[in-house]
């Protein structure tokens, strides 16, 4: 298992180097430079040229890439061109928001999706099954952006039950530990903060959870249906095991394998969905920052953020792969 993990980590380093090269080439191929967003519209050509020179954008591409790499190796991501702040700081401030949002979305998706998928499979052909299957189809089809906007119009605007924007109500004092507001509020005993943050999380997390939820319902249902028909389940039933034991040990555990794989893959789509959801709810995470950095050609910020996302994506999938060992003894034996 250790060797396997090390091998995967080495692969990660190679993948990241390749990714950085690709990203760099891609950014440089994009037309237009950051100087056109950073200066006022009527800045003269001399001023724009001066800025390109000051930023080193007039140097040969390989020089720029070399400088970039030498910085990354020293874990110095440089500073954002648009905010003038270190990218490490920007990340530290914005990543927790996206993590918190994605975490809640996954909690909702898993917490609702797996039981619902299981029940749909157990009561196959019932109204519940029909609702879950058709509902998940709708969930997959509705764009996150649209769903987020609709949830907001209904629950934040018309019914005014939940806030329309932000992570916390203005003026609320809070102590930061992890940057995850609900958790921090509970850890520090500031329950008003935790409660307020939770209210702000409901709509964006539900919107973001929609697609993973729909996928999980369908995969769970299909997987459970398949496992229920297996010989070992029939055998377990035949030898008189309690239905609860069969469900827990034989059905669910085996049915979870494909579900776990899918959850790992869904994390990537969560980041994509976060870009839209965060912008609809003015939820200041990395999603909205990446969007802004793209339109402004803020190369250093984009590189830093995308590399961090790539690392976390690969690491999360590594964790998912390792968790197979727990779920499926065969994987353990093979590795």
């Amino acid at each position: 298992m250790l060797r396997y993990t090390i091998k995967r980590l080495l692969q990660l380093a190679v993948a990241l180097l390749g990714l950085s090269l690709l990203l760099f080439a891609w950014f440089k191929a994009l037309p237009g430079g950051p100087e056109n967003r950073m200066l006022p519209d009527n800045a003269t050509d001399q001023q724009r040229e001066a800025l390109r020179q000051a930023l080193g954008l007039d140097e040969p591409i390989w020089t720029q890439y070399g400088e970039f790499l030498s910085r990354i190796v020293r874990l110095d991501f440089g500073s954002s061109l648009s905010s003038g702040r270190p990218i490490g700081t920007e990340l530290a401030e914005r990543l927790p928001a996206t993590i918190e949002l994605s975490m809640w979305a996954i909690v909702i998706a898993v917490g609702v999706g797996i039981p619902l998928g299981y029940l749909a499979a157990r009561k196959r052909g019932s109204w519940l099954d029909f609702t879950a299957v058709s509902g998940s189809l709708v969930g997959i089809c509705i764009p996150v952006f649209f769903l987020a906007a609709m949830l907001k119009v209904v629950f934040a605007q018309e019914l005014a039950w939940l806030p329309t924007a932000f992570r916390l109500s203005p003026g609320l004092a809070y102590t930061e530990i992890t940057g995850l507001r609900v958790l921090d509020g509970i850890l520090t005993g500031e329950f008003d903060v935790a409660w307020d943050a939770a209210q702000h999380l409901v709509l964006p997390a539900v919107a973001l959870a929609s697609i993973p939820l729909a996928v999980i319902v369908r995969i769970t249902r299909a997987s459970v249906l398949e496992v229920v028909g297996e010989d070992y389940v029939r055998t377990a039933d035949a030898k008189g095991l309690k239905p609860a034991t069969i469900r827990g040990r034989h059905v669910m555990k085996n049915a979870m394998l494909p579900v776990v794989t899918v959850i790992g893959l869904l994390l990537g789509s969560l980041f994509a969905g976060a870009v839209l959801t965060e912008s609809v709810f003015a939820f200041g995470g990395i999603g909205s920052f990446i969007y802004q950095a793209t339109t402004e050609r803020d190369y250093p910020a984009l590189m830093g953020f995308i590399l961090v996302i790539a690392v976390s994506y690969v690491v999360l999938n590594l964790i998912v792969d390792l968790s197979y060992g727990f779920l499926d003894p065969r994987v353990r034996v093979r590795s």
């Binding site: 994009l30 037309p31 237009g32 430079g33 950051p34 100087e35 056109n36 967003r37 950073m38 200066l39 519209d41 009527n42 800045a43 003269t44 050509d45 001023q47 724009r48 040229e49 001066a50 020179q53 000051a54 930023l55 080193g56 500073s79 648009s82 905010s83 003038g84 702040r85 700081t89 401030e93 928001a97 509902g135 906007a149 949830l151 119009v153 209904v154 629950f155 934040a156 605007q157 018309e158 019914l159 005014a160 039950w161 939940l162 806030p163 329309t164 924007a165 932000f166 203005p170 930061e176 940057g179 409901v202 709509l203 539900v206 912008s279 709810f281 003015a282 200041g284 339109t295 250093p300």
Partner: protein, 556 residues
């Protein structure tokens, strides 16, 4: 303060959302409502800003979102009332006839938030500090406005690309006066003294900071520009917190302010970059005001009881006739195309209330705006006749517009493009539509790739030079014409220190420019700002320099 409303939409809520409903119900129990007390003292005023500020040291910024906040904290020597230059920290000022010596007589009894008193030496400390910036501080992404106004620095860093020599020749303090000397006059003055970037910072707080940390343009700004509590100003509000994670900036009233004290005690700026999200937050009561209202949202907001005070216009949108692109070098063709475009329709259908047709390259609120310019009324028949006479009845032209931005002067580029393109097609011109993203748009238009393109400018301060200066000072591929009469006229006006004489020169120049017709000024458009029904808004400013100390919650 959230308002509870019921509506038929409730019926539309599907069963799938029941989990959310349950959570929402609990949330509803938590909503609170202030009553009885004076809201101005107990409730923060929350303003939805379209973007994050970049630096709490205004000299390092060139964006409106930074200035919106720093203007409440730091005062400038001179100020604007509408579009008129009025006293700020300086009660009065004099210039010598050459415009190279500017003497400011400062107000008595002004204190900075750290208790330091304002005097001439404090003013000079700021100007001397800027002049002596080195390294990355000289890069235009940090000190764009300073180098625009003053040319360069004490010692220009060759790596920063600034080549012009500084025109700053020192500052002399004497009690409550400060005299700033220049080696030559430019029409940036006195306007530059009203700019948020030249706001005066407490010399005591300047002593706490060292400006030598930024070596290259890629180095981050020093930490003090990103937090509260280091730089002290003289404004009606003190900066108390900048929470980057929540994208929120909190200001508290400064009780020893030299002018009228701020009406609302606590002011919070929160970033909501999406314009629809801003509107929804206002409608739901999560914020009390926001800027850059989408033109289409203005009327619905007013109908729903919200306030959308109309700013005077202070910008110009134009369409360039790039004259290296045939047949736009033909004056008759330019005149014909100008007659073909129904600019009033653009104003009526795309711009927010208060927009107007532009007759020249400066807005009417600026001295030097001329009534005698040729106006090119909408007359498609005349346009067709003129094109026929010029032998251009089948002309084709490339027309560029930006895709991914809105600008205060250009709230919906594609809609404006569509109207103009349709008008041009109607007189027989074949329009090749060329949409370009903004980062590529500026280089494309600058290098003369587009025959026709839309661009504009929102003024920084009240002088025609701020508009005309960057467009018509020399031959450029952006415009593609060589007209010494315009270039010389502009140079002469820009160097004329007497404001009245200068205004006359601008007026004459505007007539000359509109006869030459390098482009067609299309419209001036006020960016809209909105407030909740229970707010007494401040007087809105054409330069978007609103004074937030002047707004308050209305008594209920």
């Amino acid at each position: 303060m959230r308002m509870s409303r019921t509506s038929p939409t409730r019926r539309a809520v599907g069963a799938a959302a029941s989990a959310v409903l349950a959570l929402g119900l609990i949330a509803a129990c938590a909503s609170e409502r202030d009553s009885g007390e004076d809201l101005n003292e107990t409730q923060p005023f929350i303003f939805g800003s379209p973007g994050d500020p970049s630096s709490m040291d205004p000299v390092f910024a060139s964006d409106g979102e930074t200035f919106r906040v720093t203007r409440q904290v730091f005062d400038t020597l001179l100020d604007h009332d509408g579009t008129e230059i009025v006293p700020g920290l300086a009660e009065s000022y004099e210039q010598n006839p050459e415009g190279t010596e500017w003497t400011f007589n400062l107000r008595e009894g002004v204190t900075f938030h750290d208790g330091t008193e304002l005097d001439g030496a404090a003013v000079c400390a700021n100007f001397d500090r800027w002049y002596n910036f080195t390294g990355g501080y000289q890069s235009p992404n940090y000190t764009y406005y300073y180098s625009s106004f003053f040319g360069g620095f004490a010692e220009n860093d060759p790596d920063m690309g600034i080549e012009a020599e500084s025109i700053y020749a020192g500052c002399e303090a004497d009690g409550l006066t400060a005299t700033i000397s220049l080696t030559e006059y430019t029409a940036n003055f006195p306007g530059a003294f009203t700019m948020a970037t030249t706001a005066i910072v407490s010399p005591a707080s300047l002593e706490q900071i060292t400006d030598d940390e930024v070596v290259t343009a890629e180095d981050p700004l020093p930490e003090y520009t990103q937090t509260a509590g280091v730089l002290a100003g003289t404004g009606p509000y003190e900066l108390t917190e900048w929470d980057h994670g929540e994208q929120a900036i909190t200001l508290e009233r400064y009780d020893d302010y030299w002018g009228e004290p701020a009406k609302v005690k606590t002011l919070i700026f929160r970033t909501i970059s999406d314009e629809t999200a801003r509107r929804q937050a206002l409608e739901a009561g999560d914020i009390h005001g926001y800027d850059l209202v989408a033109p289409a949202d203005v009327q619905p907001l007013i109908d729903a009881g919200f306030q959308v005070p109309i700013r005077d216009v202070f910008n110009v949108l134009y369409m360039t006739y790039q004259q290296q692109t045939a047949p736009l070098d033909n004056h008759d063709v330019r005149v014909a195309l100008s007659h073909a475009i129904d600019r009033q329709r653009i104003v009526d259908s795309v711009l927010p209330p208060g927009g107007e047709v532009a007759t020249q390259f400066i807005p009417p609120t600026i001295e030097g705006w001329s009534e005698d310019v040729t106006t090119y009324e909408y007359d498609p028949q005349l346009a067709m006749d003129m094109l026929a006479a010029a032998g251009q009845e089948d002309m084709t032209v490339e027309f560029c517009y930006p895709t991914d931005v809105t600008r205060p002067y250009m709230p919906a580029p594609k809609d404006i493009f569509d109207i103009i393109a349709a008008d041009l097609e109607a007189v027989g011109v074949t329009v090749e539509a060329t949409p370009i993203t903004w980062v590529d748009y500026i280089p494309a238009t600058r290098s003369g790739e587009c025959g026709l393109y839309l661009l504009g400018w929102t003024g920084d301060f009240t002088d025609a030079f701020n508009f005309l200066g960057t467009w018509f000072s020399s031959e450029t591929t952006e415009w593609g014409f060589n007209e010494p009469e315009i270039f010389d006229g502009l140079a002469a006006a820009a160097a004329e220190p007497d404001p009245e004489v200068r205004a006359e020169m601008w007026a004459e120049l505007n007539v000359t420019i509109m006869d030459q017709l390098p482009g067609l000024p299309i419209s001036s458009s006020p960016p809209s700002i909105a407030f909740a029904p229970n707010v007494e808004p401040m007087e809105v400013s054409p330069l978007t320099q609103e004074d937030f100390s002047d707004l308050s919650f209305a008594a209920e």
